[in-house]
Symmetry: C2
C-alpha cells in the first residue's frame, strides 16, 4: 500500500482545541492592557495555544526548512535566471551568504537546507540534507513532471522531515524554497487546485516582460489541457505539473500538523504546497500562519482560498522562506506577551471606570 | 536665553546623506537576490545608512524610552480608565509585567522608563528616571496645561536624554508613552499642528462610547478656541494643550536627530510628539521610522502629515512603545541582510539571462 504513511498522517490531524482557544482568550483579557489592544498579536497567541494544546507554552524553538529542486519547465525560458542558479543558491545558503541564512541566524532558528531534486551533484557539504527524488523534474510542457511514485516519495520525505524536526525539539516551523522555474509549477498547481484561471494566478510583475508572461500563461494552460490533473487528487496534480520541493513542503505541512506543530508559510510557492496539503486534509489549514503578502500575483488568490490573513506586507518577493522567518519574531513575541505579562490582579492595576469602556488606557 | 539649547540642537540637524543613500542602494543591487526583491527591507537599510552616515553599520544597539505623565484633562472623564492607572502602569513597567517590558526584553533593547510628571510620588525604584516637570498638567479646559517654561523644560529634558542614550551606546531609539488622558492632548496637538478638524484626529472606536467621544471632541474644540495656540510655535501648542511626556518625546526626537540616531515612532501619541519636533525643524523627519498603523483614528492623519509609511499593520492600540519595539526587529533584520549577505561576485552566482529581467529567481 503506497499511500499508507500519507493516509496515516492525514488521519491523525486533529481540529484545533476550541476550549483552549477560549481559555487563552480569557487569559489575554486579564492581562494589564485594554482588552484587544494588542490586536493581531492576541489572535496569534491564542491560535498558537489552540494549535499546540499547551495553555502556557514556552517560547517555541523555531526551525526553517528550505527545500530546493530544479524544474524541467525552466527550459522553456519562463524564468529571468538560468537554471544553474538553483544549485548556486543552495551553495550560497550553506555558506551563509543568502538572505534566508542571515535571517535564520538573526531569529535564532535552525536552518535545514534540503536537496529535493537539484539537477547537479552537490556532494555532501555540511548542513545539506539530501532527499533527492530525481535530478529535477521533467518538462511538463511535454510530459508529466514526475511519476506518481516520485510525487508520493516527495510528500512522504517531507512528512519524515517534519517528524525529525519535532523529535529534535522544534516547535515552530517556517518553510521556504529555491528552484528556478518554480513559480510556473506553482501557478499550474494553484490553477488546478482552486479552479481559478491561469492568468489570475500567474506572476507578472516580477521581472519577466509582458511577452514572456504571456508565453508562461499559455504554457501552463496547454499543460493543464494536456495532462488534465484531477482537482480532487493532489498527488495527480503534483505529479503532472508540480515540483519536488513543492511536494516535499506539502509533506512538511502535513507532518507538522499531525504533531500539532504550527507552520509559517512564506510566499507564493509555499502557498501552492499548502493548497496541496489542504487538498489531502482540510484540517491541516488550522496549523498554518501566513507570514506575508507577496508581490507575486497569484499569492492573493492562494491566501483567499486558504482563508489566511498575512501578518506582514513589506513588498517581499524573494522566497527562500525570508518572509516566514520575519514572522517567527512576531509569533514568538505574541507568545512572550501572552505568558510573560502580568494580569491586572497580579500587578495591582485598576480596570476601567465603566466596564463597558475597556479598550484604551489613553483615550 | 531660554531657547538656547533647543535652538542649538535644531540648528545641528543635517539632511540625509544622499550620496550614501545611492551607495547603499548600489550595494543592495549586488547582493544575491533579484533586484528589489527584499522590498521595504531594502529601503529600510538604505535609509538607516543615510541617516547614520555609516556605509557598513553594525547591528544597532536599541533603546526604548517610555515617558509617563498625568493629564489634568483626565478629570473631564475623557478616558475609560481612572487617572491612577498612569502610576500603576509605571510600576508595572518597572516590575516587568507590562507589554513593553516583555517586548523590550525579547528584542534585547534597553528600557528607560521616565517619570515626566506622574501625579504621585514614585520614590526611587530601580530603573526609573525621574525628570518630573510637574505633578501632572493642569486641566486645559480651564487653563493652559503648563507654563511656557515647563514646556521648554520638558523638551530640553528629552534632548538631554537622547544625548545620554547616544553616549551609552544606543544607535536606534524606540519611543513610547503612558498617560491617562494623553490621546486627548495628542488630538489637540494634532489639530493645532495640521489644521485638520478636531473630529478627524480624535480617537473614537478605542473604548469610549459615542457620547464620551462627542464630549471629548467638544472639549478639545473649546480648548483650542479658548487658548488659540500659534500653529507656528510648537512650544505654545505644547504649553496650552500638551503633556509633559509628549514634550519630552519631541525633545528625544530632536536630540536623536542631532546625533543622526534614528527614532522609531509608536502610535498616535508619539506621532503628536513628532509633529511638534518637525514643527521645530522639518529636517528631523528624515530620522524617523513609523513602526505601525494604529487603530486610533487620528494616527493616519499624522502619518500623512509626516509623509511616513508604517511598517506594520497589526491592529495595535496599546501604546507604551509596543509597536515601535516590534519594528526594531525589522530594522535590525534589514541591516543584517544589507551587511551580511554575499554579493553575486562573492558567491559565484549567475545574474539574470537577460539583464532587463532582473527581479525574480523564481518566475
Amino acid at each position: 500500500m503506497d499511500t499508507t504513511i500519507l493516509e496515516r498522517v492525514c488521519a491523525s490531524i486533529v481540529p484545533l482545541d476550541s476550549a483552549l482557544l477560549d481559555q487563552a482568550r480569557e487569559r489575554l483579557n486579564r492581562l494589564t492592557k485594554p482588552i484587544g489592544s494588542l490586536g493581531r498579536l492576541e489572535t496569534l497567541a491564542a491560535q498558537y495555544v489552540a494549535m499546540t494544546g499547551e495553555l502556557m507554552p514556552p517560547i517555541p524553538a523555531s526551525l526553517v526548512v528550505v527545500m530546493a529542486a530544479d524544474h524541467g519547465i525552466a527550459a522553456e525560458g519562463v524564468s529571468a535566471y538560468p537554471a544553474c542558479v538553483t544549485r548556486q543558491m543552495v551553495q550560497n545558503f550553506l555558506r551563509g551568504g543568502a538572505a534566508i541564512t542571515v535571517l535564520a541566524r538573526r531569529v535564532g532558528a535552525t536552518l535545514w537546507v534540503v536537496d529535493m531534486g537539484v539537477a547537479a551533484e552537490l556532494g555532501d557539504p555540511p548542513g545539506l540534507i539530501t532527499n533527492k527524488i530525481g535530478p529535477g523534474t521533467k518538462n511538463f510542457r511535454y510530459q508529466p513532471a514526475m511519476t506518481r511514485t516520485q510525487a508520493l516519495a516527495a510528500i512522504e520525505s517531507g512528512i519524515a522531515l517534519a517528524q525529525k524536526a519535532w523529535e529534535q525539539g522544534a516547535r515552530l516551523l517556517a518553510i521556504g524554497e529555491m528552484g528556478i522555474g518554480n513559480t510556473t509549477a506553482s501557478a499550474a498547481i494553484a490553477a488546478a487546485m482552486t479552479g481559478q484561471p491561469v492568468r489570475e494566478v500567474t506572476g507578472h510583475g516580477t521581472g519577466i516582460d509582458a511577452g514572456t508572461w504571456e508565453r508562461k500563461v499559455q504554457l501552463i494552460e496547454q499543460a493543464l489541457q494536456r495532462h488534465r490533473p484531477d482537482p480532487r487528487d493532489p498527488i495527480d496534480i503534483l505529479g503532472k505539473v508540480g515540483g519536488f520541493e513543492i511536494g516535499g513542503l506539502a509533506g512538511v505541512i502535513l507532518g507538522a500538523a499531525a504533531r500539532r506543530m504550527p507552520v509559517v508559510l512564506d510566499g507564493f510557492i509555499t502557498g501552492a504546497s499548502a493548497l496541496l496539503a489542504v487538498g489531502f486534509n482540510p484540517s491541516c489549514r488550522a496549523y498554518l500562519f501566513a507570514s506575508h503578502r507577496s508581490v507575486e500575483r497569484g499569492h492573493e488568490v492562494i491566501l483567499r482560498h486558504l482563508d489566511l490573513d498575512p501578518l506582514l506586507d513589506l513588498d517581499l518577493r524573494l522566497g527562500e522562506g525570508t518572509g516566514a522567518c520575519l514572522a517567527i519574531n512576531l509569533i514568538q513575541a505574541a507568545i512572550a506577551l501572552y505568558t510573560g505579562m502580568a494580569t491586572f490582579d497580579e500587578a495591582g492595576v485598576d480596570g476601567p471606570v465603566d466596564s463597558t469602556m475597556t479598550s484604551s488606557f489613553d483615550s
